[in-house]
């Protein structure tokens, strides 16, 4: 049977409450009745001693004693005081039968000096008393008034208290379990709303730093990843064609120009070399894109190698200059660390090449082939790549949309592009556990900062 966890919690709480209450009231009942029995026996003993003193030691003061007893001793229910003389060699068999008590009761009094006996709420207390006339057995008996009145009252009170406490604790347990599971129910309701059509929805995290907000954070993180891979999946064809077009254009252009008239052998060789080069680029990109598509974004199945960022940047520069001969890229080494180990990262060369060439070629494109500064630096944790252009910039209001696939800023109309490069770049940087920060001022320029964690290699 499927039991809701909320009901389960309520029941567990209730059981705990109830067992504590039962234990508590049982303890109270037992200890109170125990105490009252002892107290009653003591009372009976006093009665017995008084009777013996009055009846057996008939001395001068006994008249006052009787008066005192009659005045101050409250008569107990069915109180009876008896005394029997102890004569050696004679048993109390008849007396025992008459009283309805076992003979061992009398024997014990004779032997030990005192004894107690209970039968049907009649209490017997016997003592051995030594008077001037000889030794006596004195027995006081009465019905226990506690048993008659108090104990029933105590039982009633306890039962009422238990019922009241049960009802009260049931309410508390119900409220408590509701209260604890309310955020969970909220999360469930909200998650139900999220489907593949509205993956941008997130759970609101307004509670403070507790386990629930952890859960919500984890959920939102997961949604982030799902959304990213969803988008990439959706746009994969466009992404791929965008990336594949550049080298293809170069190949077609080169072939077109060469075929327009008869050329010398050297020129053909040159052309075929260029075409081969571009075809190789195409091959690399296809592989990288395939990688991206196959591996998703868990960052685990990627093949990560040791690579040096500065070398990678020079490669990127070379590639871009080949595609766009007008570009002016200035690689600034002024903050290059003295220790080259700090520039080594763990990464996939093709993917990072793709990401960096995207950023830098965008910088060239949107600054009309003005100088683009590319700087490298490294702290102990991160390698920084900073790409700075003096181009058209990105309007401040649109900065938050730049990672949306196919988004293009309002001032880019006269530039060719599909709005795919940057989301792809961000995905690649994310795979490498890096960070990409874009800041911009319209018509002043844009700065892109890429932080990649330093690969910790043992030297």
């Amino acid at each position: 049977m499927k039991m809701r966890i909320q009901i389960k919690t309520t029941l567990i709480l209730l059981t705990a409450f109830l067992s504590i209450i039962l234990m508590f009231s049982g303890f109270v009942y037992l200890s109170v009745s125990n105490y009252s029995y002892e107290d009653f026996y003591k009372l009976l003993e006093i009665r017995a001693v008084t009777t013996a003193k009055v009846e057996l030691d008939q001395e001068g003061g006994s008249q006052e004693m009787i008066a005192l007893r009659n005045e101050f001793f409250e008569k107990l229910p069915q109180e009876k005081d008896r005394y029997y003389r102890i004569s050696p060699g004679e048993s109390f068999k008849n007396e025992a039968e008459e009283l309805g008590v076992p003979i061992s009761f009398f024997n014990e009094i004779v032997k030990e000096g005192k004894s107690e006996y209970t039968k049907n709420s009649m209490f017997y207390k016997g003592i051995r008393y030594k008077s001037k006339q000889g030794e006596y057995v004195v027995i006081a008996s009465a019905q226990n008034y506690f048993e008659l009145h108090h104990s029933a009252y105590l039982r009633r009170t306890l039962v009422f208290a238990i019922i009241a406490a049960f009802a009260f604790s049931a309410l508390i347990a119900l409220y408590f379990s509701r209260y604890v599971f309310r955020p969970l129910r909220k999360i469930t309701d909200r998650v139900k709303e999220i489907s593949s059509e509205n993956l941008h929805l997130r759970l609101d995290n307004n509670s403070n730093n507790d386990e629930m907000s952890d859960l919500i954070g984890t959920f939102n993180n997961m949604l982030d990843r799902i959304e990213t891979s969803f988008e990439t999946q959706n746009n994969f064809v466009s992404n791929a064609s965008h990336e594949l077009r550049t080298p293809l254009t170069a190949i077609i252009g080169e072939a077109d120009v060469t075929l327009s008239k008869i050329r010398t052998t050297d020129e053909y060789i040159e052309t075929i070399k260029v075409i081969l080069d571009e075809a190789e680029t195409l091959d690399r990109k296809t592989k990288a894109l395939l990688f991206l598509a196959q591996t998703g974004f868990n960052g685990k199945t990627q093949k990560f190698d040791k690579l040096r960022i500065d070398q990678l940047l020079w490669d990127v520069k070379e590639t871009i200059e080949k595609i766009n001969t007008n570009s002016r890229i200035h690689i600034d080494m002024s903050l290059l660390p003295e220790n080259p180990v700090k520039l080594k990262i763990k990464g996939n060369e093709q993917l990072l090449h793709l990401a960096l060439s995207n950023i830098i070629s965008n910088a060239c494109k949107y600054s009309n082939n003005n100088v683009v500064n590319v700087s490298i630096g490294a702290s102990d944790q991160n390698v920084f790549i900073i790409v700075k252009d003096h181009g058209i910039g990105i309007p401040e209001k649109e900065l938050k949309y730049i990672y949306d696939p196919f988004f293009r800023a309002s001032n880019t109309l006269k530039y060719e592009g599909y709005g795919i490069g940057l989301p792809l770049t961000r995905n690649i940087i994310r795979i490498h556990n890096g960070e990409i920060l874009v800041s911009s001022i319209v018509s002043q320029g844009t700065t892109v900062q890429i932080n990649l964690p330093v690969g910790k290699f043992e030297e």
């Binding site: 600034d332 903050l335 003295e338 220790n339 700087s375 630096g377 900073i386 800041s439």
Partner: protein, 166 residues
């Protein structure tokens, strides 16, 4: 040749550009101990003094970007910078400042030409009057032009040669 230099800072990346320009002006064999000094009045309530911790105060003032940028500089000038640390000065008098410089064996102070610090903490104060009155040699670096940059507050700010605190 080893010397200790004080550079006033407001814990912005821009103030680290002074360090960059200054160190690149030094000879290759220089061994520098750089103290990034920040003026901060201590609270005079007994409770906050009781729980005062310099470490925590620094954590509050230094941003993650600032620390990263410090490491970038340390890596860049690994052979010239022997130590680089940030410190707080909380004295009220000129002699307190003089004592601080004496105790730390300060040889020089470096200031940007365009000096206009912005403090995040309301207890921060400008060290310039103390520096001027201390008769320590002052090195001025940077230019007087201030251009707006998109990369304000990011580590990227460190990578471009603009020396001013604003």
């Amino acid at each position: 040749m080893e010397k200790t230099v004080v550079i006033p800072t407001d814990f912005s990346i821009a103030s680290l550009n002074i360090v960059k320009s200054y160190v690149s002006m030094q000879p290759a064999n220089a061994r520098l101990n750089i103290i990034l000094l920040h003026g901060l009045h201590q609270s005079d309530s007994i409770r906050s003094l009781l729980f005062y911790s310099k470490h925590r105060m620094m954590e509050e003032l230094c941003s993650k970007e600032f620390k990263e940028a410090c490491y970038v500089l340390k890596n860049k000038f690994a052979s010239q910078i022997k130590t680089m640390k940030s410190d707080l000065f909380s004295g009220f008098t000129q002699s307190a400042f003089n004592q601080y410089t004496e105790a730390n064996n300060i040889a020089e102070v470096c200031l940007p030409v365009l000096y206009n610090p912005k403090f995040k903490n309301k207890n921060s104060f400008d060290l310039l009057p103390y520096i001027k009155a201390s008769k320590l040699p002052v090195e001025m670096v940077g230019s007087e032009v201030d251009v707006p940059m998109p990369e304000k507050g990011k580590v990227a700010e460190l990578f471009f040669n603009r020396v001013s605190v604003s």
